[in-house]
Amino acid sequence: MDKKAVIEVRDLVTHYGARKILDQVTLDIHQGEIMVIMGGSGSGKSTLLRYMLGLEHATSGRINVLGQELGALGVKEMFELRKKTGVAFQGGALFSSMTVGENIMLPLYEHTRLDRKTMEIMARLKLEVVNLAGFENLMPAELSGGMIKRAAVARAIIMDPKILFMDEPSAGLDPVVSSALDDLILRLRDAMGMTVVVVTHELESAFKIADRITVLDKGKILFVGTVEEVRNNPSERIQNLLNRRPEDTTVDPDEYLRRLTGEDLGGNAVL
């Protein structure tokens, strides 16, 4: 496999208010691989995705996407970079006032000078890819959850992006549909040579599609490696995550009491 990194995250530190969400995250995502970012709820995996998409400003650290540093780009360069990436959001984020076809065509309509007929053909092509042929005239509200996710994928790949980001592709779907979506991700990588970044907490899906897995925990990277390496990792935390064992957190009695009584929460933390 080509080892060229298309996404480089270096020492990323981010905060949400005063709370630290990501702590010194460093990560390389190589061209043509499917990288699954895994972790429990609140591990910061969705946050990491938002930063890789350039939707937030980091406290410190930097992120390079396709060789360009996100924070340092001008408005115009950012628009150009975004044409080379596609994103399928967790809830699909289809525009509810437009039909499925119009949704998928929107990037073409905004960024190219193709005529309408060509755009429609391209939209239908992508709908074929995600097995939604013939649904272009429906409104998003008329689609099922799985169909919305696939339509969102079709929209994400309409510009033939170099990198495809997916947020929780299998969340809220039944196992069959979710497995079909996994096959679709594999097909996209094989057929179009895309780099795919998937954020998920579904182990089964992660093991099926991933070339490499990044395990995030409490804002830190626990481990990066292939599926086998993750499975055989001796770390207790990773094994807990894999075997769905809840963490036993040690409780400091004083701290616990302070939390319960709500006292002495430090100066001005009054709501």
Partner: protein, 271 residues
């Protein structure tokens, strides 16, 4: 312990006032930013390959303007008749009923037509704008626009703002006619003046400055409605309930802003 100490309660009260003030100023600031950013995209958009689409402006104009004609017509006519009734009733004291035409002409053109138009548009379209932007934000549709390389201000805010700036004055002109005419019909019926004489007198009384006074105000109202709607929509949090909250908030704020601006503008313009 904090809550039981009266001194602390006072401090917290003052702190609350301070925080709300800061939040209010911040909101005004973000409104200003939205306004100037919209103007920026209207002018510089084509050069950045991000033009404000004429089609979406027309869609907004249709929604804000054309569909509001019936209700605004009815309301303006009602106000015209109301002014005629009150005017005749009051002027009867001096036996000067026929002078009611002056009252109707000035109050409709300078005050009531822009005010009722602004209030109705705020209720119909300002709230719709807040709800639409709020829902889009909750559904990650705004993020989706960002990552597609489509600036949300250019795509969503600028068309709505421009449509408002065109349609609110247009509707105000329409309410001028509707109000004056309905007032005239009532005056004609109760004072035995012919409609032609009424119109003739109205034209003699009104100067261009009076009409411009009303129209200038309506442009200010248009900007206020659009920006308040957008700022509230963009500040949504907490799901569907949050959308309801910002929608209500935007209507209340827009109407208050309209009434206060109306008074200030009248004060400044008549000095």
């Amino acid at each position: 312990m904090l809550s039981r100490d009266p001194r602390n309660a006072a401090i917290r009260f003052i702190e609350k006032i301070g925080r709300s003030t800061v939040a209010g100023i911040e909101e005004m600031g973000s409104g200003g930013v939205m306004f100037f950013e919209s103007i920026y995209w209207l002018i510089a958009g084509p050069r950045m390959k991000q033009p404000v689409r004429i089609g979406s402006i027309f869609v907004q104009m249709m929604e804000i303007g054309i569909r509001a004609i019936p209700i605004i017509g009815i309301m303006a006519a009602t106000i015209g008749v109301m002014l005629a009734i009150q005017g005749i009733h009051t002027l009867k004291i001096f036996g000067a009923e026929s002078r009611v035409v002056i009252g109707i002409a000035f109050s409709i053109v300078r005050e009531f037509a822009p005010l009722i138009t602004g209030i109705l548009v705020a209720g119909r379209s300002g709230s719709a704008l807040a709800a639409r932007i709020g829902t889009m934000k909750i559904n990650q549709e705004i993020d989706a626009l960002q990552v597609m390389g489509i600036n949300p201000i250019r795509f969503l805010v600028a068309p709505a703002l421009l449509a408002m700036i065109v349609m609110v004055p247009a509707l105000t002109i329409f309410s001028n006619f509707a109000g004056l005419l309905a007032g005239g019909v009532y005056v004609g019926a109760s004072l035995d003046i012919s409609l032609a004489a009424y119109i003739d007198e109205t034209i003699n009384i009104l100067r261009v400055e009076d009409v411009m006074h009303g129209l200038t105000k309506s442009v200010l109202f248009a900007i206020l409605i659009a920006i308040i709607g957008v700022v509230n929509g963009a500040s949504v949090s907490g799901g569907a309930e949050g959308v309801g909250r910002v929608t209500t908030r935007s209507v209340v704020q827009a109407i208050s802003a309209i009434v206060i601006t109306d008074m200030l503008f009248a004060f400044i313009d008549t000095r």
